[in-house]
């Protein structure tokens, strides 16, 4: 609500400069971390983007979190996955697990590559980042279910999901699946790499979960009119 009335805020500078806080006045703008956004010349920008740039010169900007960086290796999806895996604030451990997972995926794929014959070698994907992204894409559900009350009863109604919600569900399913349904003596990176490779090949428990959600939505398609948005 406060963000919607940010148009009513007059030009203002804060008396105390906020650094690394997480609650900011809605007057503050988000930081732009990628270098490519600044290297574009003036001619390439549209009118709105020029306005945005001028606005950024005048308004105060939030401090960037320590999770983002301007390096070429910074990936927002992977950062989000690491944050979701993190427990009790142990980011070091979560990042370690993530790097070990990617390394493990690469090892397995390179092994497969060297064992395969000449014709099959081109089809094998070795880049762990593309495998991660493709596996996550394969796990994202298309429609979700919402519990809507009508006439005293609650119905599971199929609804369209936002991109953020779909990405969150895919990551959540992946992590819970690896934590709960695997043999307890395997390391998390091993479990994750197995599950990610399976999802890349469109098999595995996470894909099953996605299909079950789709089947439930299809079964409840009669209630789709209970939505009002």
């Amino acid at each position: 609500m406060a963000a919607s009335i940010s148009g009513l805020l007059k030009p203002w500078t804060p008396r105390v400069f906020l650094v690394r806080w997480s609650r900011y006045n809605p007057y503050y703008l988000e930081p732009e971390v990628s270098k490519e956004a600044y290297s574009r010349p003036e001619t390439e920008l549209s009118a709105e983007e020029k306005e945005q740039r001028e606005l950024k010169a005048l308004r105060p900007i939030k401090a960037a979190t320590s999770g983002v960086s301007s390096s070429v290796f910074d990936d927002p999806v992977i950062s989000k996955f690491i944050n979701m895996m993190m427990e009790h604030g142990n980011k070091v451990l979560a990042r370690e697990i993530m790097t070990q997972t990617l390394e493990n995926i690469k090892k397995k794929q390179v092994e497969k590559y060297h064992k395969a014959s000449e014709g099959e070698r081109e089809a094998i994907e070795c880049n762990p980042y593309t495998i991660f992204h493709q596996a996550l894409e394969n796990c994202k559900p298309v429609v979700g279910l919402a519990s809507i009350q009508k006439g005293g009863k609650y119905y599971q109604v199929p609804i369209p999901l936002t991109d953020n919600r779909r990405r969150f569900l895919a990551m959540k399913w992946m992590i819970t699946e690896c934590r709960d349904n695997k043999h307890r003596r395997t390391h998390m990176y091993e479990k994750l790499s197995q599950e990610l490779l399976a999802a890349f090949g469109k098999e595995g428990n996470v894909m099953k979960k996605k299909y079950e959600l789709h089947k439930m939505a299809e079964a409840n398609r009669a209630y789709a009119h209970y939505r009002w948005w």
Binding site: I5, V142, H214, E218, A224, Y226, W228, W229
Partner: protein, 122 residues
Amino acid sequence: MATQGGIAFQEKVSRLLRGQNGKPVLKPNRALVLKDAVANRKPKKGEASCITEMSVLMACWKQNNFVDTLCSNEINSFYMCVEKAQADAKNKAAQSNIQGGRLPPKQATALLKRYPNLCKEI
């Protein structure tokens, strides 16, 4: 507006409270003071959007046993429909705000809270 007819308005109110022939017209149980907030409006219940696209998608799923690669066209059209519906909802909200000539209740409350009704001298 209040300053123009201010004194006449106060006289009218005191006449209503005192009443003609000793019988007051108004017997307020609370002070006659305006609140610093506006009542919220009930949002209008719309219809579900993108039902046709969803039903087409689900028919395709039923046919192809829920394999997503075979239904990619339907999935894309569903996503585009959803995006359009969201954009439409945003534009409609913005338009109705501008056309109505009134502030929406939340913004009106925020503004009133900034310039509250002064009921005490201190």
